[in-house]
């Protein structure tokens, strides 16, 4: 597609990168069909192709972002379904990441929104603060009905409260920085990114991951000083905090790589995985030494399902008579192009695996999207739950804490794939599955 950047503009590395993304787009429109917001809203402006065009105009103009553009970019889930569909190989992720940063830097949002986005960016990546906030939310829940929902802010506050679990699981010592030794002979050594929100909302996921890996002879390191990988703030366009978090993570992992060595950096929250695998691009303009470290970390990053396939997973228990509806997290299927590994593992573990008829469509979780865009997120959630339940499963499995939170609370257990795999390999039965179900 034709672009109109000046030579001066193209000297900026972000502009140059976006220019080459834009030049790859041939405006064929294929991507519109698989975009969740286009399917729901029926407007070119809420389609990938429309957003690409809006972003192009915004970046070319060099002027501050306007409400008209921000509205449609904000509605983008960053689900990256468009990237799976695009025949031309357009890297929409890099383009929209640039756009979000540009908006963050040039656009002044109304103050309630600014406040909320600032708070989310500060609280979510920090387990201690997040835990406190959730406690507060649990206390405030009875008052949720009092929040006026006539305004977007009201709707967002309500969404936030309804996502907060009534009771938090107890803290888990296993997730603290330490080394979990392999059982028996050591076959490998990996670092585990425990995640930020996940450690508070569902420590059982990391516990299952660690049990399963150590049982398979893998030493699991949880390095100190690695908090959030930066994905959360990165997706909100908050460039500096995102880069700072990523830098800390790179430093921590590099110490391990250069110390005892790592076979992989494992991630069991696929939203984070997509970002960590993109570190090479994020740090492309960093000093050479740092850029090289970022690249090395990105190359070692692997989703837990990828790694389990690599080292070979075998169940120890007899196959349970359970049907699992597998929900493919966007960050896994579109962001990292991992589609069959989790399903194959679940089948190996003895589950019958079914899929909804719209596996490519997002559930509406998308980082902080379900808080900032509660209406669209709610519609996508209902749609996804309906197509999942259509297949009459006993439970739902997904590989991302965001999706798990989003799909929970509808009477059907929603678990992380790795919890089911650990159970079948000798781990405890996940709490969410009642005794009577088996």
């Amino acid at each position: 597609m034709q672009t109109n950047f000046s030579v001066e503009q193209l000297r900026d590395s972000d502009n140059a990168a976006s220019n080459s993304v834009l030049r790859t787009c041939v405006h064929c429109g294929f991507c519109t069909a698989t975009c969740p917001t286009f399917v729901l809203l029926g407007d070119e402006l809420d389609s990938p192709r429309g957003r690409i065009y809006l972003i192009k105009e915004m970046l070319e103009s060099g002027k501050p972002a306007t409400e008209e553009v921000v509205r449609h970019v904000d509605r983008c889930l960053s689900c990256l379904s468009c990237m799976t569909t695009c025949p031309s190989g357009v890297n929409y992720m890099h383009l929209v990441d640039h756009a979000r940063r540009y908006i963050e830097e040039t656009y002044k949002r109304p103050w309630p929104e600014r406040l909320m986005r600032g708070a989310l960016g500060r609280v979510l990546p920090h387990p201690r603060l997040f835990r406190l906030a959730l406690r507060g939310a649990a206390l405030a829940r009875p008052a949720a009905g009092l929040i006026p929902t006539g305004t977007m802010t009201g709707k967002r506050l309500q969404a936030m409260l309804s996502l907060a679990p009534a009771k938090l699981p107890p803290q888990s010592a296993a997730q603290k920085p330490q080394i979990h030794r392999a059982e028996g002979a050591r076959r490998g050594r990996v670092a585990l990114l425990t995640g930020c929100a996940q450690t508070v909302l569902a420590p059982s996921i990391n516990e299952a991951t660690i049990r399963l890996l150590t049982r398979l002879g893998i030493e699991v390191v949880i390095p100190a000083a690695i908090g959030c990988c930066g994905a959360l703030t990165h997706h909100m366009g908050q460039h500096d905090p995102a880069m700072a978090a990523a830098r800390a993570a790179i430093t921590g992992w590099t110490r391990e790589i250069e110390g005892e060595g790592l076979d992989a950096i494992l991630i069991n929250t696929s939203g984070c995985g997509t970002t960590v695998k993109d570190y090479g691009f994020m740090f492309r303009d960093a000093p050479p030494a740092e850029a090289a470290q970022a690249k090395r970390v990105a190359a070692l990053a692997a989703d837990i399902s990828e790694y389990l396939v690599r080292i070979g997973y075998q169940p120890q228990r007899p196959a349970p008579d359970l049907t699992v509806a597998y929900h493919s997290a966007c960050s896994l299927q579109h962001g990292q192009k991992i589609t069959s590994a989790p399903k194959d593992l679940l089948k190996t573990a003895g589950f019958s695996v079914v899929e909804p008829r719209d596996p490519h469509l997002c559930c509406g979780s998308a980082g902080t999207y379900n808080i900032m865009q509660p209406e669209i997120a709610g519609q996508l959630r209902s749609r996804k739950l309906a197509t999942l339940k259509d297949r009459r499963p006993d439970l739902i499995a997904a590989g991302n804490i965001g999706c798990i939170t989003q799909l929970s609370g509808d009477g059907m257990p929603v678990l992380h794939t790795v919890e089911l795999l650990d159970w079948m390999a000798g781990g405890p039965r996940p709490d969410a599955i009642g005794q009577s179900d088996v």
């Binding site: 429109g29 294929f30 029926g42 065009y53 809006l54 105009e57 031309s88 190989g89």
Partner: protein, 474 residues
Amino acid sequence: MIRLPEPKAATLAKRDAIIAGLRRILRDSGVIAEAARLKPYEMDGLTAFRQPPLAVALPETTEQLAAVLRFLNQEGVRVIPRGAGTSLSGGALPLADGVVIGMMRMNRILEIDYDDRFAVVQAGVTNLGITAAMQSDGFFYAPDPSSQLACMIGGNVAMNSGGAHCLKYGVTANNLLGLKIVTIEGEILDIGGMHLDAAGYDWLGLLTGSEGQLAMVSEVTVRILRAAEGQRAMLAAFRSNEIAGACVDRIIGSGIIPVALEFMDRPAIHACEDFAHAGYPLDAEALLIIEVEGSVAEQDELLGRIRAMCDEFDPISCRVSQSAEESAAIWKGRKGAFGAVGRISPDYLCMDGTIPTGQLPLVLRRIGEMSDHYRLKVANIFHAGDGNLHPLIMFDANDADSFHRAEAFGADILCLCVEVGGCLTGEHGVGVEKRDLMHRQFTEIELDQQRAIKSAFDPDWLLNPAKVFPLVAA
């Protein structure tokens, strides 16, 4: 830049009133009027030509569509119908004084009847969406344009779209039973019905392929078919475009009608392989994708005969797909071919002409010569079985000279098609792209007759004007 008619000063002057009127019918959420938000509507799949519209209207019901058309007709405002905006001939190119009516929100499937084998769908349902809704019951809608994932059935009717499998099943016109249309006066009319060959004049035939110039389509009743027992695709690789072209003629001449017979040349093969990882033969100069269907025995017998014919042309390789996944990848590559060319060139013009299959070797050779002459690369991807060519001329829109050469190259190809006894358009429609070449195909008298038909439906030429017919000198 293509010449568009002068905007009507009167329309521009009452812009605010027109937008207010549209908002009364569609509320704020159904009308787009701010300059920044109109920009992405300035073009469709033909990126060479751009013009932001006066406004965009997004109706959700036939009644709203009728009210919008009635209002715009009263105000004398030009109308540009738009589906998914995938047209490669600029069928949805806006006008500065025109209102784009986007049909994307009318995306519901209204009825599926397996006993009588028809489905009623709104115009904004995607082509593939129709098949997707019935696939698990073993039925499908046959025409399958390459953009079938995204393109909408209303646009398929407007352009009489074809597709790879039209060799056996025919184009859109052969698979329609009825239409609900809205005239420019805002009158809602039903045409055809639930069965083939309705009584009276063949209005359906007249409206299909009329490029949104006679009326707007709001609902479509399509014929649906039971899916074949199975199908298999064969990939036959050849040493040159001309040899592959001769092989196509041999197969078609033998009387065998495969379900699909597709052609790709070297640049196309490489770009598509990059996207679909289908295992296309990268050593080939030209590739034929030949699909047959039926019972396993039928498939074997047909593939055997086709294979024997391919062997007469000294193929580099012939491979039959071994699984459903492999076939899916083969078609994913072919259907994504135009977009995949975006991997090797920032821009392209996608031509669409039809020729008698006997002329394939000659035409392919001449296209190769033109490519040298204009110093522009070309990728050939097309429905070889019915002689429907889609040469993609690669250029760089950031370089004006290369665009002018591409335009001239394209015009030469289409003139060549007419010269060898073919026609200007296979399935993409005339749009704006081929408008000025129409006199190569038709005499002035013939064009006048066609204009008279348009005038009968749309006396003031408000519906998608500036397309199809060469502009009358101002």
